[in-house]
């Protein structure tokens, strides 16, 4: 197993290099002038052709590809990602400020995905082909076919437009006053729900939770349907294995067969997929946050893309790709730890 993990770790720099190379190749489709816009935050410094030339030289934007790539990488390593016009602050600062909100959203979304998805998948497989299975299956396909933005708008329409229960945004204005300008409030984790509890402020906690419910439902519904399908087919596969038949033949009761013998083995492949799905939820974050005006990284990314704020958009790709690469690494290693077949290889 050690050699597997070492091999996996050695691969990490290769993948990261490839990812940055790919991002920079896409970035290079832009002209040096357009790329320059990502480093300049004072339009006055672009007042004449000469100063533009000088700046292009300074940031090595017109160099041959390998040179400008190396230069860009050096900057990235020092977290110098340029200036964001949409956020009106350096890109890295903007990311750090908005990331906790996104993290909070994703963390809360994992719970329903894993619990409901796996639970329904097992039920569906156990009741293979009867009414219950068909119902669960069709509802999973419908959930899978629902585009996040339409489902999100639907949730917003019902729970905010008509019922007025779940408002968009992250906090009500009175709560924002406490968190951002209040003197007694200490931000330990920057996850508002947890900070509110640590500060012992229950109304604030409830307000944050109220704003989270709708985006969490929206974000989790697709991954939920996907996980259900994987669990179902893996479970169906396992229930057909010889050792399950043996267990049944020797008279072990059905409950033990399903939950002790089959489920444990069936969930090994599900675990990898679950990890990947949680990571893939990052993509849905952009739409969910936009629909609910939830002030995380994704919401900002959407507005940056609309106003052609290239520096922010590129950094966003970099951020999400790194999250995915490290996420996948963790999933693979934990997979090796759980599955004895991988461990022994």
């Amino acid at each position: 197993m050690l050699s597997y993990i070492i091999r996996r770790l050695l691969l990490l720099p290769v993948i990261l290099l490839g990812v940055t190379f790919l991002i920079f190749s896409v970035f290079s489709l832009l002209s040096p002038m357009e790329r320059l816009a990502t480093y300049v935050h004072d339009p006055a410094s672009l007042k004449n052709a000469q100063s533009v030339e000088r700046l292009i030289d300074k940031y090595h934007l017109d160099d041959p590809f390998p040179l400008s790539y190396i230069n860009w990488i050096k900057r990235v390593i020092h977290f110098d990602l340029g200036w964001s016009q949409t956020a009106n602050q350096p890109v890295w600062e903007a990311i750090c400020q908005r990331f906790p909100a996104t993290l909070e959203l994703v963390l809360y979304s994992i719970i329903p995905v894993v619990l409901v998805g796996i639970w329904l998948g097992v039920i569906s497989a156990v009741h293979h082909n009867d009414m219950l299975d068909q119902t669960i299956r069709v509802s999973a396909i419908i959930g899978w076919s629902l585009p996040t933005f339409i489902f999100g708008l639907f949730v917003l329409f019902i729970f905010y437009g008509i019922l007025g229960w779940l408002p968009p945004g992250r906090l009500s204005s009175w709560a924002q006053d406490i968190v951002y300008t209040g003197t007694n409030f200490k931000s330990y984790t920057h996850l508002v729900t947890i900070d509110a509890l640590l500060n012992g402020n229950i109304p604030l906690f409830l307000d944050a939770l109220r704003h989270l419910i709708a985006p969490v439902i929206t974000l989790s519904v697709i991954s939920w349907a996907g996980l259900l399908r994987i669990t179902r087919s893996s479970m169906l596969d396992t229930l057909r294995k010889d050792y399950v038949r043996t267990a049944r033949a020797k008279g072990v009761d059905e409950h033990t067969v399903i939950h002790l013998h089959a489920e444990r083995n069936a969930l090994i492949p599900v675990m990898t997929i679950a990890g990947m799905m949680i990571i893939a939820m990052l993509g849905g974050v952009v739409i969910t946050e936009t629909v609910f005006s939830y002030p995380g990284v994704g919401f900002w990314m959407a507005s940056a893309a609309q106003s052609l704020d290239y520096g922010s958009v590129i950094s966003f790709a970099l951020l999400f790709a790194s999250l995915m690469v490290f996420g996948n690494l963790i999933v693979d290693i934990s997979y090796a730890l759980v599955d004895p077949r991988v461990r022994l290889e």
Partner: protein
């Protein structure tokens, strides 16, 4: 093959999918008859009024716009917005009908090209193995390191607005699944005796891949492709929704939903007053994607050898 078709038609959920698909095909084919275009570019949705806010179903084309069309010698046959208008006075009905063509175009073109690229790369990787395989698979990993939507969004932002650019972005980040899938199947099929026999007889590599390996391994790819059409259409619509996809006024369901976004809450005292602006394009996207997924899901169960004979 006959068995597959019989199963497809005997399964309730796939039958619903097939019926829906046929309806969409009819709409797409007869689009010029159902909603005659008013400008030279049929994909440009005509405006029914200059008003910003949506107009209710049954709204008649406003006089100042009618004058413009009269002046341009256009014969306005349909002057009633059956499904209402969305933000900016764009006719929803027209957008729905021509948007069906857009959806087919995006779904079929991106999936066919992406599958082709994926199969090509994956079969080379599996057949030759060794360091070729290693390099190709690492490149695949790199492309897989981006969330699909984020990658497509970044590339479209850089390339600029337009349907062609959206499709380029979707293809660039959409081939990896096929490459992995076909690689897996070919790795398994490579060890079969018929391939060994062909090799021993001195058949050319390209012919072995093309004549022997691909026909035996292509079915999972086709199932995957069917399922993939829906997600490509969703992603393209999502890009339009986020404001980086189709150009403004293009007949595209995602953009219509994005137009409706500001109006979904309704006005004070009239919650849900503009329901039609999001309902119609939304239901079209959902049904279109659903129809492909229903067919694909059944296909997968039918062709899955592990489940064969148990359905």
């Amino acid at each position: 093959m006959n068995r597959t078709i019989r199963k497809l038609f005997s399964n309730a959920s796939s039958l619903v999918g097939i019926v829906l698909l046929i309806i969409f095909i009819i709409i797409a084919v007869f689009a010029p008859k159902i909603a005659p275009p008013l400008s030279d570019d049929p994909y440009q949705v005509p405006r029914m009024s200059w008003d910003v806010n949506p107009q209710a179903p049954g709204f008649l084309m406003s006089d100042n716009i009618r004058e413009i069309y009269n002046y341009m010698d256009k014969n306005v046959k349909h002057d009633k917005a059956i499904c209402g208008t969305t933000e900016g006075g764009y006719d929803i009905f027209y957008g729905l009908i021509w948007g069906t063509r857009t959806a087919f175009k995006i779904g079929l073109i991106t999936v066919i090209i992406a599958a082709f690229i994926g199969v090509f790369i994956g079969s080379i990787s599996a057949y030759f193995g060794g360091w070729v395989d290693e390099i190709i698979m690492r490149i695949t990993d790199i492309f897989l390191s981006f969330p699909f939507l984020v990658a497509a969004m970044v590339l479209t932002t850089i390339l600029g607005r337009g349907l062609d650019k959206v499709m380029i972005a979707l293809i660039t980040f959409g081939w990896m699944g096929y490459a992995r899938l076909i690689r897996g199947s070919i790795l398994a099929a490579k060890e079969e005796t018929y391939v060994m026999a062909a090799k021993a007889l001195g058949v050319k590599d390209s012919k072995i891949i093309w004549k022997h390996l691909l026909p035996n391994t292509i079915f999972p790819v086709m199932v995957q492709a069917t399922m993939n059409i829906g997600s490509m259409v969703i992603t393209a619509a999502a890009l339009s929704f986020l404001g980086v996809g189709a150009p403004v006024g293009y007949a595209d369901w995602g953009q219509m939903v994005s137009f409706a976004r500001n109006w979904i809450i309704g006005s004070p005292g009239h919650a849900g007053r503009y329901w039609y602006s999001v309902f119609y394009p939304g239901i079209f996207i959902v049904l279109f994607v659903l129809s492909w997924n229903l067919v694909g899901d059944t296909l997968r169960d039918i062709l899955d050898p592990r489940l064969r004979g148990e359905l």
